[in-house]
């Protein structure tokens, strides 16, 4: 208890740091929510270009209409270089090439191949979902209805029905974006705040002279280290819990479902990694100025590179490649994945990302152990 109590006192001396990064998080989150609520709808309508090589009739016409209704149609010169430019500058997120004979092929029971080009971002995935939905419905009804006019009517009625659902899910996805941005930013707060404080405290307790003084006392060093680890774990857990609570307060009840649970789980794993990282740096470096430098560089650097401040899809590819070396990348990727989920589903990449995070944690623990053995 002695060690734990001293830990709390030392923590109390460092509380300004914790408060600072938490306030930053709240500030960022509420600021972000305001900007999001203006012009949300525009952001949710993907920019789409349809290059139609077929006649604009029947089912082809119906498909184009459906896409047009639910997206913003962009006009771009239909040559490769203009199209590539538009993609690169994100003037358009999704390009659909309807092939020659699409209508005939489709009606005769074939599944004609539709080429697409995509920026791969969230808007593009909305457009792709739209296309898939139309084709899915159309393919199903094709089996039962051979008359084109009736088929088109059936498809449109069904899809009209779904528009409502889509609207609500769009609203939700707006809330999910907020939650995602909150958790993304918490990457910075957790790294900077949590790691900073843990480093400072560990550095105090592992100070050469204090360590020597503790080693000659009648306290078992194993118990001493356990108490320290327990205190650090409890601190990180408390901070994580505080942030989760904050996210629910700020984002509202729309994430009181599996989304919230996944966010919670993902950030918990990340918190554990942040804790192991803090322990590593605290053991490695005793000088407090040096700790400040390292934590700032790592927290700010990885937050920028991995998209904690700006959405990942705005970052150039090479930056994202570099970002792979940081645990933050896997955490933030998962936040993106969670916010894009319509129904509960665990993708392989989600599991892989969690695995990578845990791997980082294990790595940090191993290095910490090697270092403290050497001392």
């Amino acid at each position: 208890m002695t060690v734990f109590k001293a830990y709390l006192k030392v923590l109390n001396k460092n509380k300004a740091l914790v408060i600072l990064y938490t306030v930053l998080l709240i500030f960022f989150a509420s600021f972000n929510m305001k900007t999001n609520s203006v012009g949300t709808f525009v952001a949710e309508k993907p920019n789409v270009l349809i290059v139609n090589q077929d006649e604009n009739r029947g089912i082809t016409k119906s498909l184009i209409q459906y896409i047009t209704q639910n997206s913003t149609i962009v006009r771009v010169k239909e040559n490769d270089s203009s199209i590539n430019d538009a993609l690169f500058y994100r003037d358009v997120s999704y390009i659909i090439y309807l092939p020659h004979h699409f209508r005939n092929d489709f009606l005769s029971g074939k599944n004609p191949k539709i080429e697409v080009k995509s920026t791969g971002d969230y808007n593009a995935s909305l457009a792709s979902m739209m296309l898939e939905r139309y084709l899915k419905v159309a393919t199903t009804y094709r089996e039962v209805e051979k008359d084109e006019a009736s088929l088109v009517k059936m498809i449109e009625e069904t899809l009209d029905h779904q528009v409502d659902i889509e609207m609500t899910s769009k609203l939700d996805s707006n809330q999910l974006m907020k939650a995602r941005d909150f958790y993304n930013f918490s990457n910075y707060s957790l790294l900077a705040g949590c790691v900073f404080v843990i480093c400072f405290i560990v550095a105090s307790f592992k100070d050469e002279n204090i360590r020597k003084r503790t080693m000659v006392s009648s306290l078992d060093m194993k118990k001493y280290n356990q108490q320290l680890l327990f205190a650090n774990g409890l601190f990180a857990l408390t901070l994580w819990f505080l942030y989760v609570l904050l996210s629910f307060i700020l984002v509202g009840k729309s994430i009181l479902d599996f989304h919230g649970l996944l966010f919670l789980f993902n950030s918990f794993v990340f918190m554990v990694v942040a804790l192991t990282f803090g322990l590593l740096i605290g053991n490695l470096v005793q000088n407090k100025e040096a700790i400040g430098g390292i934590v700032n560089v790592v927290a700010l650097g990885s937050s920028f590179l991995c998209g904690a401040f700006v959405p990942m899809e705005w970052l150039p590819d090479f930056v994202l490649k570099i970002a792979h070396i940081f645990p933050s990348y896997y955490y933030i990727s998962n936040n993106h994945f969670i916010s894009s989920l319509e129904y509960f589903e665990l993708s392989w990449s989600f599991v892989m990302n969690i695995g990578m995070l845990l791997l980082f944690g294990v790595l940090f623990i191993l290095i910490t152990n090697i270092i403290s053995k050497r001392k």
């Binding site: 006192k9 002279n209 003084r213 080693m215 006392s217």
Partner: protein, 312 residues
């Protein structure tokens, strides 16, 4: 007398450098044992070996009749250590620091509070309880360091140069405190390179040089080792070389030196040396200011044994 510590042929080498060389000594219950030696003579290394902080090549160490080891918690419980370097938490106040280190040993809260207050009193930090270490002067910081080491009322106390770079006021406080601890029954091992402290404080002294014991005994016993018995210093304006040579042939005189206006005459033994000298100065009409006679110091002993000064 009861042996508290028994060290047998302790040798410690740092990569090729023999810091402690075949050291054997005992420490008896209730005494203050001084480890005296110049910088780098192996005092701290010896203490660190005794405390199992360092692994050593050969030798054995028994404390309270049991073999010392890093996990000998029963022994460690009764030991208090004040290291040469100040070891306190910058984030804790004076009182909180003492309470923390005391708490590593004493679990009972009421008892601990009493002990902490007593320790604060012992080193005279009553007015600074709420201060943080960086608000303390060097001397007060050392006092805090000592309070942290002894608050749990250990039976055996190691103090490694607790008065280095300390102002006279704090030094007196510290020395008084140490005497009080001894009077309360503690056994104390005290390292220093200030011979004055050893003479005031220690019951027994071990003089170290280059990791070896070169002499040991009570301060008085050690002074016997110095060939001289008495040292007379005279402040004098001028004196000729012939007169210096003449004085060297006086009875009992060991050596005569004249440096920076001070004439130093050392005697091997004998009585009435001072009177003889004054008579001579009068007879020769030599004007002098102050004149004083001293017993030899441990520094003279060290000089005699090693041919160099204890302090540079």
């Amino acid at each position: 007398m009861k042996k508290v510590i028994e060290v047998k042929s302790l040798t410690k080498e740092y990569k090729g450098l023999r810091a402690v060389d075949d050291l054997s000594f005992d420490v008896y219950s209730g005494e203050i044992l001084g480890l005296l030696g110049p910088n780098g003579s192996g005092k701290s290394t010896t203490i660190n070996c005794l405390l199992s902080l360092l692994k050593f090549q050969t030798g054995s160490i028994q404390i309270f009749g049991k073999s010392m080891s890093p996990t000998a918690y029963e022994i460690k419980k009764q030991i208090g250590v004040v290291f040469q370097e100040v070891a306190v938490f910058q984030e804790l106040t004076v009182r909180e620091n003492i309470e923390y280190f005391c708490g590593l040993y004493i679990k009972n809260k009421k008892m601990r509070n009493e002990y902490v207050e007593e320790a604060i009193q012992l080193v005279g930090l009553e007015e600074f309880k709420k201060f943080y270490p960086k608000q303390l002067s060097g001397g007060l910081l050392r006092r805090l360091n000592i309070a942290c080491g002894i608050a749990h009322k250990p039976k055996l106390i190691f103090l490694d140069e607790p008065t280095v770079a300390v102002d006279p006021q704090s030094r007196n406080h510290i020395l008084d405190g140490i005497k009080r601890l001894r009077n309360e029954g503690a056994t104390i091992i005290y390292t220093t390179h200030y011979m004055e402290e050893v003479e005031i404080l220690c019951d027994r002294v071990i003089i170290l040089d280059k990791g070896k014991i070169i002499a040991s005994g009570t301060p008085d016993e050690l002074k016997e080792l110095a060939k001289i018995e008495e040292k007379v210093s005279v402040e004098i304006e001028k004196i000729s070389t012939e007169k210096l040579e003449e004085m060297k042939r006086f009875k009992n005189v060991d050596d005569v030196k004249y440096i920076d206006g001070i004439l130093v005459v050392t005697y091997q033994k004998g009585k009435n040396n001072l009177i003889h000298l004054i008579d001579y100065l009068k007879k020769e009409n030599l004007q002098y200011n102050k004149i004083y006679s001293e017993r030899p110091t441990l520094n003279d002993v060290f000089l005699e044994l090693t041919g160099k000064e204890l302090r540079d």
